[in-house]
């Protein structure tokens, strides 16, 4: 096998398990020096365990690759700096940062605590800044670098009970569009992967939620029986991530790729697909007439109020 990443040093956060571990293993196979970062926390961010990162680093080394384990948390400034420093201390440079690390603290907004909000934002979103900031300083000096952030299909579309996760995951894609513009001129690319995969994280969607959806007529296949799980194995996400690390991807910058199973999609930039224009300031009365007729045609409320709710403004029917 060719080794297009030979000589490159790549930090993969959260690579002790799931998608991260598959990315780290493939990067190792493709010749990269890999820092396998994972503090080994539980899905909700509690606890710590050096086992997962150590096992993956060992596996890479056993298979002829080059890897070192790191157990810092991305949620702190020092943790991010330590990872990048370890890459430089161990392998002499830093070429790629892949931020896969994440936790979940799902809760409906009206029940979400400040702590649940803060912890999810600090691991996903501030965690991204914590590793990108020190890496970008070095990448800019060497005029070469690769940054990949992880967003989420459900985060981008919006999923009940995930105000914290949805904010963090869309924040990562917005931040990456800025990074692409801050760093592109220095030979650094910044892109986003919005993965779909069956991992410890997605398995946490409660059975209650699954059965609620089934009651509403939303078909939920039992993924274990349908064979879908194997088609959504996290290993499918790894090739696209590693491709973005290669020299050939030098001009791929500022994009969001949806990757799930054998599918690789390029996400739309956000744009206004229907518009009203007036030479002057609109009035409320004009908007009341034009917005439903011209902007909202065919679009539906993703969570409409139930019919028995007495709702001002809704046309009354018998």
């Amino acid at each position: 096998m060719a080794t297009p990443l030979e000589g490159r040093t790549i930090v993969v956060t959260g690579s002790g398990r799931g998608i991260g571990s598959e990315v780290a293993k493939l990067a190792g196979k493709l010749g990269a020096n890999v820092i396998v970062n994972d503090p080994g926390v539980n899905l909700d961010g509690t606890g710590s365990d050096e086992g997962p990162a150590a096992v993956i680093a060992q596996e890479i080394n056993d298979n002829g690759g080059i890897a070192a384990a790191n157990f810092d948390t991305v949620a702190t400034e020092e943790g991010g700096e330590n990872m990048i420093r370890q890459a430089v201390d161990t392998f002499g440079r830093i070429d790629g940062v892949i931020h896969v690390a994440g936790i979940l603290r799902d809760r409906m907004i009206f029940n979400m605590t400040e702590e649940e909000w803060d912890e999810v934002i600090s691991v996903h979103l501030t965690g991204y800044f914590n590793v990108v900031k020190p890496a970008s300083v070095l990448m800019r000096q060497q005029r070469f670098g690769r940054i990949v952030g992880f967003s989420s299909g459900s985060g981008l579309r919006g999923q009940t009970g995930q105000a914290n996760y949805g904010a963090a995951k869309t924040g990562i894609s917005g931040m990456t569009r800025v990074l692409a513009r801050d760093l592109g001129r220095y030979g650094i690319t910044s892109n986003v992967i919005a993965p779909g995969a069956a991992t410890r994280m997605t398995a946490s969607i409660p059975d209650a939620a699954q059965s609620l959806r089934a009651q509403q007529g939303i078909q939920v296949q039992d993924r274990r029986e349908s064979g879908v799980t194997s088609l959504r194995a996290p290993s499918y996400v790894a090739p696209m991530v590693c491709y973005l690390m290669t020299d050939q991807a030098w001009d791929v910058n500022g994009q969001v790729f949806n990757v799930s199973g054998g599918q690789v999609g390029l996400s739309h930039e956000i744009y206004d697909f229907r518009q009203l224009n007036k030479a002057g300031r609109w009035t409320y009365e004009e908007l009341r007439d034009l917005v439903p007729a011209q902007l909202m045609q065919g679009l539906r409320n993703p969570a409409p109020p139930p019919d028995d709710l007495d709702l001002p403004g809704r046309p009354v029917t018998d």
Binding site: T3, L125, V132, V178, G184
Partner: protein, 329 residues
Amino acid sequence: MTKEGHCYMGALDGKVAVVTGSGRGIGRGIALLYAAEGAKVIVNDPGVAVDGSGHDEGPAAQVVNEIKEAGGEATANFDSVAEFTGGENIIRQAVDAYGRIDILVNPAGILRDRMVFNMTHQEWDDVIAVHLKGHFNTIKPASVLMRQQRYGRIINFSSSSGLIGNTGQANYGAAKAGIGGMTRVLARDLGRYGVTVNSISPGAATRMTQSVPDAARELRSQAGISSLSSEQVSPFTRREAEDVAPMAVYLASDDAWNINGEIFYVNGGHVGITSHPIAQKTVFKEGHWEMSELDDAVHNVLLKNKPNPAPPRDDVELPGRDVPGKPLN
């Protein structure tokens, strides 16, 4: 309220609204128009500088005075949305003063622009705290009450900086894009309770956009990108802060009961509804992709005719471009 002595049914008669950051700019325009349309308004603004420093009760107090002089009802609040307790205080003040909360509008924001390689953690944290957590801090307590009363309107503020990307704004872009994503989640959390949650991505000439440094403007004009001079502004290119307010009134009105989870671009006389982040092109393979296959698919299918938003300078020696990269397979 009465206008010129006649009984006038405003679009927001009897509603209680909180507008954060409404001492100046877009927020101020919304507070004034809300009051004119009959809402009782909590005018929140700690009166900080664009970078978040300082404190001045003047701006919020002045907007309240303007509203009262025009015959409307308003109360000033000086809490910071960056604190969880600040958000609670703002919502509590609405309930204490007017008995309920119907509408929450979140324009409060600051800027701390810096290229990412120079950005400090303080600059990151401050911007995330006001914009992104600031939205959570007001929405959380408001959502509890709105859910109980089975009615509510939440209007968030995103920005094209986050949705499209703007140099030197990693913090602001992350926060503003995050607000867009959060809006889609909240619409799904709250829609069934008669609450709508939408976002406005505004364009307006305000104190905040004036802070874009002259150096940046000069650089852009050298690159052939010119901003409009005041003489060039036409009725179609105007972007006054008050132009955002009518759409904020409409989304808050009873008429908009079924508009939920959308992001609207609003600037001057322009109102647009934005696309959802779906894949525009997809390639599929049964099995795991090889590097060389992806190189082909990415360049010849997915990114065909799509430019790099910030291509590397021609004099940067770049493997893969002028220097052959390592073979892929």
